[in-house]
Subunit: 416 residues, 2 copies
């Protein structure tokens, strides 16, 4: 059986290609059945092809070495990513669609039959060590201090590295990030002169937007030195320095009193064992009529991130369930006012990021190397697949002091 | 010390009024301090008055018999209601404000210090027996089969006995119940010709509204015979019988396939141990692109209802936390799309109900008796206090099949 042996740019190195055996080819088909017969073919190192039991167009997963096939069987959740990055596995067709189609089938099976034993076993990774001050710094440095120049290549002009908001689906990334920041500001009902504290401010996009357009004073906390340097320089350049204070400190060390608390894309790094403590911090720093918004990647089930992404992308990260997020509010005296799930907005954001990332892949390769390009390609496409398939969600949760009476009578003001 | 000895209409019966002792008067002041010094005076049976340590206008709680005072100390959560209903305790001033002021103070203390031991002890009531088919029928009969004539006195014209929605706070009850039903229909994105299943349809207000204004077919389940008889008669009278099927059956026995699942004010009676099962029912009866809405009283903390309301009003009822509600969705393959907290809308609804109830109190007394009037007065005002103080919340949760892609890009369509 002839098979397309196109490879993308990675070179897995030369190996002796011994032919695949009949048991191996049967095993490959068995794996496809276990995955729920997605529209995917497995192309083995000698060109042999395993086809799923359903007709139709297929994506090809090409195993360039026998080793990659057997490693996939041993630990698919870790080794598929590793061998994709190393180039021993390549994908012909859209990587995100491949992963999405598999996720959807596995999810449908789980609803009918529960999670199979092999998946439960693989997911029983040791919980990541608690994200105390020191480890939080390490983890944040790992991902966010890769260099502002790298992120500048493919983020929007305000350098917002969180889910955008597309009230009109045709919006470009710049407009959608601005729309997200306006959406957040409206949800917080900000008034000129109010004091906002931001926990985890990234490159400062939200703090600049709120200071510039809503007349508030923002105190923004971050533990990434590179990001803070960027924030301060840009606030100075844009004449916003008297309206924003940037503080290099962990969320545990937030000081002062504020009208509004906002945190966009930090909760994923807080560690679920620390939610109640974060709630106590919000209670301590918010005024009596204080309110807040937490924007976080989430999930429905409460399982650890896959081992590949934990190892290579986000050490110590965890996307909470909505139920787990309630630890933030329960004993700290807050009530949830509004939850909006922006899952498809994150999928759209990732589509935009991937488009820009690929347009600059050569520059990224020059700045780092081919493994780095493939690592990020796998991470961004895998994330897109997760949001499309519903394995990940994006929650914006608005909260207020329990028993607060001065609430709007409808959410119409968000849409005027 | 002179004290106002006004009594409302209840007659506690004649008793020998021995004077209060100094320890009793001190104890009364101590109780007020334990309650956080609310703007409340205790007027003892001999006219002695215990005043809190804060100045300002006060509400009076009048103990007409020594027994009521000591019973209050023994079990305030049960006996305050019982002796209010029996007339041994009366309140001079607004009952809801009295209860609200106490709830607010206790809640503020809990956030600072945790719940005091005496409250933990009192709340450690045995969990209500599981709400199986039989018990569910019994509990529903207890409250909802008091007679349609009674509810007709003070509900709106569509007989909706759940939280209304006041996008304009000045709306009357009729308009607000219609606005609630429209809000629900919009959240469900109903299209003409679609099939809706309603679990727990009350007196059928929503089923009539959806069939009449949204062109859908509704299959509505209920286990209250009196309500169903009313529903069927009214659907016939209004020419809606071919667009609504009323089924006398428990939610566990819902049959068929539907585009949308809706349940307004039933979850409180389902029992938290049954949420996953209700989720499986929703999974079984919803189409692949099915979606749904659950509207339920909720709470932040996850504690049983007070013993008085469990004993006299809602046996077996439990208002879930948002976290507990997630059991509905997690393993049944749904994702939460939108949560709106309508707590202040329930407070406003209760204000309207109380106004109408009091306007018809004489008729209610004729239909039942004075104890019944006082029972309902205590229940309605206590509920109002709970919603104002934030001890109760009202959640509308919209959900869809996990991974569904055809979602609106914003919630603006709810407000057009």
């Amino acid at each position: 059986m002839a098979a397309p042996m196109q490879k993308d740019t990675a070179d897995p190195g030369s190996t002796v290609l011994t032919p695949s055996t009949t048991p191996e080819r049967r095993l490959a088909r068995w794996v496809l059945r276990q995955l729920g017969d997605p529209p995917v073919r497995f192309v083995l190192w000698d060109g042999a092809v395993a086809t799923p039991d359903v007709p139709g167009p297929h994506l090809d997963v090409v195993f360039h070495r026998r080793r990659a096939f057997w490693r996939l069987l041993a630990n698919p959740l870790l080794h598929f990513g590793e061998d994709y990055v190393g180039g021993d596995i390549t994908v012909v067709g859209d990587l995100a669609s491949l992963v999405e189609s598999i996720y959807r089938r596995l999810e449908a099976r789980r609803i009918q039959h529960g999670r199979p034993a092999w998946q439960r076993l693989l997911l029983r990774v040791r919980p990541a060590p608690a994200n105390d001050h020191r480890r939080a710094r390490h983890n944040v440095h790992h991902h966010y201090d890769l260099g502002n120049d790298f992120y500048r290549l493919w983020l929007d002009e305000e350098m917002v590295y969180t889910c955008a908001y597309y009230p009109e689906p045709g919006m470009d990334l710049e407009a959608a990030q601005r729309a997200k920041m306006d959406h957040v500001a409206r949800k917080l009902r900000l008034e000129p002169g109010e004091r906002v504290v931001e926990a985890g401010c990234g490159w400062g996009g939200l703090s600049r937007h709120l200071a510039r357009h809503y007349g508030v004073h923002v105190t923004a906390y971050n533990i990434s030195k590179e990001q803070l340097a960027y924030c301060r320089e840009r606030a100075r350049a844009e004449g916003l320095e008297d309206r924003i204070d940037y503080v290099e400190a962990d969320w545990r060390d937030i000081q002062g009193r504020y009208d509004a608390f906002v945190s966009i894309g930090m909760l994923e790094h807080v560690g679920r064992e620390n939610y109640a403590e974060l709630g106590r911090v919000m209670h301590r720093v918010l005024d009596d009529d204080g309110r807040g918004l937490i924007h976080s990647i989430g999930q429905d089930r409460g399982e650890p991130l896959g081992p590949w992404i934990q190892k290579y992308i986000f050490p110590g990260a965890y996307p909470p369930t909505l139920a787990e997020m309630m630890d933030l509010f329960r004993d700290s005296g807050f009530s949830v006012e509004d939850v909006e799930n922006l899952r498809l907005h994150y999928a759209r954001t990732l589509e935009h990021w991937i488009e820009r990332f690929e347009a600059h892949a050569d520059q990224v390769r020059e700045m780092f190397d081919e493994r780095f390009v493939r690592t990020w390609r796998f991470y961004l496409n895998g994330s897109l697949a997760n949001f499309r398939a519903g394995s990940l969600q994006l929650y914006q949760v608005v909260f207020h002091r329990r028993g607060h009476m001065e609430l709007p009578w409808s959410r119409a003001h968000l849409y005027e």
